[in-house]
């Protein structure tokens, strides 16, 4: 490492503990970064597409996740390299923003980095490459807009939406019953969607899973499920037209938060306290009863005595309901969450048509279904499956599907999948490149090559000859000027994605290109990596 010396020959300390840090500069730094980014992309490359493979990720505690979802793989992978972390961030932000295409974005970024490496070797300055990429991404972005199509659906015509969901689900393990799951996802989103404002609050869709049964038993419940049972075994298991009191105060003796001391020094005091305590329980239950509640849902526990009193007064109750569930119940039933018994009034009660307890399998598992709620804008997707990993994976897949439907409701433009858009963009970028004089032209061409990486990976994963297939499709697109030609992954016989009904959302694709370009630009601009050495 270069050291600076002052006039007496003593070294200047520029970085603290300089000797103990490793430092990479210039081209070396860029190359190292690029190779790290590529390594991450390489891991995900085989997961792309309907025939993509899964990965097993074993967590530090020995638990296993089997998944195909790019964001999940990267998140669980526990990477150490800084650049690899950037790639993880990249897929995460795609996940937050769009929810789907998390694998694609990383593969894309990897391809861009690979191309950049070649340009660097030719001596092109990284900033020029970055600028070229920026221009190219703009061309691709606009081209996407041009080839996108409006796409009509309504509350009664959900078929197109189901088709899109099926595209998303077909790359996951659940593709055995993708039709059912796609319908569930679409119904769920439409139930909570505000079509006027084009807004969907995905928090209103709860995805619950329970091991056992089979995937086909997965159902959509227009209501809420709570993984709890009645606090007392003899309470009724089925309540119709329930009026629900939603409480965040425990059925327990009061525990004032301010510091206090109650000293018992006489017999009288002892007795008054005792009486008060009894009265307190009585009052609590009576209060609930008075406002007309027929079901109490409480965030906290019950004292044995209170529990009995509730049972005694024929007031079914559920205890230890989590905060999030409580909120959902409140929203769904139109009730208010009441923090004190004194504030309980009839208006604050939630209403539900039916509350029932359902038991599963041979173990004692029971769940509470709250259905026909006053406000139907809260739904639950209840997943069943052979084992824990299938359920977890189904949850992730459904989340992707839900996001896709939401994106379509926000913006109903679609593009065709199966790599067709990437090929079409690549052609457009290639053509556009010639208009730019200067070194950037090379970078733009490289961008076009990088775009080919996705259809190439798709073809490879589907067991097709990647180069042959890609060039055939590309020439077909140009010849027929049909941007819908893609890779025929499922061996259907046609490569027109319009006929195969393989769509993706426009914003998803645009986002992929923009995010990938941004991250690559960022990586290219780094020319110095200083990291604490391990010794």
């Amino acid at each position: 490492m270069a050291l600076a010396f002052d006039e007496y020959g003593r070294p200047f300390i520029i970085i603290k503990k300089q000797e103990q840090k490793t430092r990479l500069r210039g081209l070396d730094a860029q190359k190292a970064n690029i190779s790290a980014g590529k390594a991450v992309a390489r891991i995900l490359r085989t997961s792309l597409g309907p025939k993509g493979m899964d990965k097993i990720v074993q967590s530090p505690d020995g638990d296993i996740t089997i998944t195909n979802d790019g964001a999940t793989i990267l998140e669980q992978m526990d990477v150490d390299n800084q650049i690899a972390k950037l790639m993880v961030e990249l897929s995460r932000s795609q996940d937050y923003e769009i929810g789907d295409g998390t694998t694609g974005v990383v593969v894309m970024a990897g391809a861009l980095l690979e191309q950049a490496e070649r340009l660097l070797e030719r001596g092109i300055h990284p900033i020029r490459i970055a600028e070229g990429y920026e221009m190219a991404s703009r061309i691709a972005f606009e081209h996407l807009e041009r080839i996108s199509q409006r796409f009509d659906f309504g509350a009664d015509n959900i078929e197109p939406l189901v088709q899109t969901c099926m595209t998303t689900l077909s790359s996951k393990i659940v593709n055995r019953c993708k039709r059912d799951l796609a319908e569930i996802a679409v119904r769920a989103v439409l139930a909570v969607a505000d079509l006027e404002r084009k807004d969907v609050n995905l928090d209103m869709i709860k995805v619950e899973g329970k091991v056992g049964g089979k995937l086909e038993d997965t159902e959509l419940i227009y209501g809420i499920t709570v993984d709890k049972d009645m606090s007392h075994p003899q309470m009724p298991k089925r309540i119709e037209d329930a009026k629900i009191a939603i409480l965040t105060c425990p059925f327990e003796p009061p525990k004032p938060k301010t510091k206090h001391k109650v000293d018992i020094d006489t017999v009288e005091k002892f007795e008054t306290l005792r009486d008060q305590e009894r009265k307190y329980f009585d009052d609590m239950v009576q209060k609930c009863k008075d406002v007309g509640a027929t079901l109490v849902i409480c965030q906290w526990g019950f004292d044995d005595e209170a529990n009995h009193l509730l049972m005694h007064r024929n007031l079914p109750a559920v205890r230890w309901v989590g905060g999030v569930e409580l909120e959902l119940i409140a929203i769904a039933t139109g009730g208010r969450i009441v923090p004190r018994f004194q504030e309980l009034t009839t208006e604050k009660l939630g209403k539900a048509g039916l509350v029932r307890e359902k038991s599963f399998g041979t173990t004692k598992d029971r769940m509470l279904y709250i259905e026909h709620c006053a406000n139907s804008r809260a739904v639950t997707i209840f997943i069943r499956g052979g084992n824990k990993m299938v359920i977890e994976e189904t949850k992730r897949s459904l989340h992707d599907a839900l996001c896709v439907v939401r994106n379509l409701i926000r913006n109903n433009s679609i593009v065709y999948g199966g790599g067709s858009v990437e090929i079409s963009c690549s052609i457009a970028v290639e053509v556009g490149a010639d208009k730019y004089p200067g070194v950037e032209q090379y970078a733009i061409r490289a961008f076009a090559d990088a775009l080919d990486a996705i259809p190439m990976a798709l073809a490879e994963n589907s067991g097709l000859q990647p180069i042959e297939t890609l060039s055939a499709v590309k020439s077909q697109q140009i010849k027929e000027s049909n941007p819908h030609c893609g890779i025929d992954c499922n061996d259907v016989g046609t490569n027109d994605m319009l006929e195969q009904n393989v769509f993706e959302t426009l914003i998803g694709k645009q986002q992929q290109i923009l995010l990938a370009t941004q991250v690559v630009k960022m990586i290219l601009k780094i020319d110095d990596v200083i990291s604490p050495s391990e010794y």
Partner: protein, 527 residues
Amino acid sequence: MAINRIFKDEASEEKGERARMASFVGAMAIADLVKTTLGPKGMDKILQSTGRGREVTVTNDGATILKSLHIDNPAAKVLVDISKVQDDEVGDGTTSVVVLAGELLREAEKLVAAKIHPMTIISGYRMAAECARDALLVKVMDNKLDAEKFKSDLMKIAMTTLSSKILSQDKEHFAQLAVDAVMRLKGSTNLESIQIIKKPGGSLKDSFLDEGFILDKKIGIGQPKRIENAKILVANTAMDTDKVKIYGARVRVDSMSKVAEIEGAEKEKMREKVQKIIGHGINCFVNRQLIYNFPEELFADAGILAIEHADFDGIERLALVTGGDIASTFDNPESVKLGHCKIIEEIMIGEDKLIHFSGVAMGQACTIVLRGASHHVLDEAERSLHDALCVLSQTVNDSRVLLGGGWPEMVMAKEVDELARKTPGKKSHAIEAFSRALIAIPTTIADNAGLDSADLIAKLRAEHHKEGCTAGIDVISGTVGDMAERGICEAFKVKQAVLLSATEAAEMILRVDEIITCAPRRREDRM
């Protein structure tokens, strides 16, 4: 420094063939481990715990074996998981599901070696599983409407399930026990209300089903040992010093006399509570929590039988059988429902005294008392009986029944073979492999019984080419026999669950092409 490490130290990554190999090997190792326990002549395993005492379990139950293993291989974990789920969901078939999944993977390995893409294998397996299920659906028998036949079906299923367990010597006895117990549930699947009490001593044959309820507790000293026409109050309340629960309250006194006063008040409070309880007009009081000496004495004085520390399940079941409420406050005796039973008495089983409630109002719960030579025998007997009870309770709800003894596998294999012949493309190899994996189950059963499996399976297959065949392997006589005649039955639900979860698990493992292992979390070394 050109190549960077992406992962942390100690993390590893396995790719492609190697990853697939690791998962195949792991899964097959697990399957082979439990393979020898399959079937009526399957062998048991001894499990020794690593904990203190080195406790030993002897078992034949797949789920129990797998649950106790510490496994590091990810694919093996998937198999352990499916067996656990099978146990939770249907209770039986925990070994079969693992063996089938293992066989599916073994076949898949050969196909992968023959350069067939895993995705193609998966789609073939899927078609085959669908076809196999349809084949079973066609052949299924349902005797729900005919109560007499249904009961005999249940009996057969129980016998079939038990025949592979330690109880096989007395399977008729135990099958009868299990069927009686399940019929009492009247369609509910809540096995909690069947209590199993294990008492070492005697032989397995001495086990019995008690129509009433047996509580493994002693009666307080000086209290009546036998009560007729008992009125029972089931309670969950503190009967020790009843604390003031208001937070922060504490006793703070400055002289001895005051202590005595307060103590007196406490006693008075307890006495009041006891009086209230007695005021319910009861002659038996069962509490979930401890009853201290003082209240116990009061109860004894009033001639009331007080039973303390009955655990949660105990009181819940008691409430269920006697039809009483579980009470925690005692201010309004008129509205608390009391439980009733004809006789409460102390009985002796072996050397232990137990409390027996007979002539209960509602017969929804019952108790099975297991006797046996040692704890290990009893534990295994309990597990076997639990399996039988689970299967029966599931069958009560879904009354479809199949024949056993490898018959369903042969039926499925035949249909799947047909399908393979009709299917063009590489998939047909996978479908054929599926049928081979199915046949592996009867093969294993025959092998475990020391029979000539190749010969038997060939005979069986020939038999199955006739229409309406009911042939299966009769392990006892070592020949191919008519399963319908021998009364060997299995529940459809179990078979279906085995088929579907095994396929699902195999599919999951096949799809993997990379294993990433994170660095193990560092534990603080306390040594």
